[in-house]
Amino acid sequence: MAENKKVVVPIGPYHPLLEEPEFFELYCDGEEVVDVEWIAGYNHRGIEKLSESKHWDQVTFLVERICGICSTSHPIAYCNAVEDLLGIEIPERAKYIRSIIGELERLHSHLLWVGLAGHFLGYNTVFMWAWKYREGILDMFEMITGNRNHYAMLMIGGVRRDIEDEDIPILQNTLSEVKGKIQMLTEAILDDPVLSARLKGIGTLTKEDIKNYGAVGPVARASGVDIDVRKDDPYAAYNLVDWKVITANNGDVFDKAVVRLLECFESIKIIEQCLSAIKGKKGEIRKEVREIPEGEGIGRHEAPRGEVFHYVRSDGNTSSPVRHKIRAPSYVNIPTFKASCIGETISDVCIILAGVDPCYCCTERISVYDKEKKKKIYTFEELVKKSIEKTEKIKKEIGKEGKLWKKLF
């Protein structure tokens, strides 16, 4: 294979295409890309390990820092996991508020992607317009939570802040304004002949590819696989409101854009229903949680990029999780480049790589380097082996297998 690999065109570690440090090596034959390698691990922060030294309540805010864009997805999944461990049901009002926050985040994240995709294509007008429209949503966030980002709304057993009744008409107004703007943007993008020529038929992922790579979220839905945690395993208020899963059939970059843009309208529909459901009513917004018993729990949330998964285990004695496992959607979405990029041109590969809406800070895994020799010490296989060994050791230490282990194996 090595001798066939032609010129290496680097994308990263610092490249205007991607905002985060990661490295794609494109092996090119002229403009055509014949192979792609991906090197990550520039920015591993060890959040799983860190959360084992924090209090249960603090972890909610720690996991918010995993990603700046989908910053409420991780807390929702984490709280779902802890509530699964506790076996409690949260109050209905808290469910609605969680859904509102989750969907607002989807809106702003999708608009952010649309803008960035425009920028990557050299279409800076779309970039600026989409981000301008996103401002309205950030203002709504500021109104509800006090922050434009890192909302700190979630806590175990409910939410931290209530949405005031007098705010709701303003929120509804802003939402309908934003809806009109997104409608305009969607029409402009979907009817643009040059964008269609540029995006249709590139980076196609078939249903088979989606299954092989286990891709999730809009990437999977663009290929006609209608997986969505909100429908498949409802949490928060998603089974209390009326909405549908958006899918497309072709699986190319254009369809990914279509799915994301149309999902915005579903999100607006959900938020509108949630707002009118809590309007004029009073209710509890959280359930008191005193202590976390021994046990384990899993929580999932449909983040803007797909399913995010959290696993927590408590030993009942300490005030922090003994194990906290996180899997972000980009971890399964990014590797699809093997199926979608090879055979395309450099220009197309750039937008295909961005088409899965990659979030590298969620995805980063540990890599161990020798500073003097500038060489990797552990290969991927060795790290996996070490991980399995550690799991076996922990199982022995605990002396018994948890309920989830029994369920899974």
């Binding site: 403009e31 294509l121 050299g122 279409y123 600026m128 020529a197 540029r198 220009s347 197309d348």
Partner: protein, 309 residues
Amino acid sequence: MSVLYSFSYFIFSFVVLSIIGLFVSWIDRKITARIQWRVGPPWYQNFVDIIKLSGKEILISENSNKFMFIFSPILAVTSSTICGSILFLVLRKNLGFGGDLILFVYLLTIPSLSIILGGSSSGNVLASVGISRELKLLLSYELPFICGIIIPAIKANSTTSLIEIVKFQEINGSNILSLSGVIGFIVILISSIGKLGVVPFDLAEAETEIAGGALIEYSGILLGFYKLARAILFFVIPSFIVILYLGGTPLNNFLGILIFIIKYFIILILITLIRNTNPRLRIDQALKFFWGWLTLIGIMGILFVLTGM
């Protein structure tokens, strides 16, 4: 004496063209900003950019061919300045010589060629991708561009002198007022966007794909020279189109100059609007577009002008 005169004329036109070019580039940037709901830079932004670049360190990579690396940006700026000074001669002094149209076309390819030279001497992988694109683009837009030039040349009784074309339009009205003129105007406008290297034909630089392409290794005043050459072309190419298609007003009084400026801005705004409402094309799409549709339309225009339409 005459050598000294020519040299001082060159320096004079370099300074004037730089000021005009940087100013019109600012107008382009400002319109772009307003379209995108931004405030945009102040009027002196491009000037301070160049001043800042001239104070920066010039980094030359070890793999590069040092002479070509330094020589190419100077070549770019020189050739675009000569283009501009020919235009000045034609516009202000009604001077010219037979065949200056052909010289002009040659000189306009030199900035692109110098980008190719500079990029290939820098020894960077991304630059090599950039120059391969620039080369393909140069080959592709040159054909419709020449179609667009031939049409007014045939109209003005098959001349190769710019001044003849100007005089022809003074007597018979602007070239754009006929069918072949409209076709030629559209063809030359679009292919000149390719020549200017802005979106949708900025493939050679394509910041988000190949991080600046051919210019990736350039820094300091050498990069500044390329920016200057680009800025001067931003004045020269639209003015060239004005001369070829929208002429007809003598420039010997204030009104004539004002009308020329208005015509120039119409073309500048058209280019700015096109670049803000389109994404970047792929290289194969750009080639197909230039060699397919645009050349066909251009040849149609030539046929029309030959039949007198």
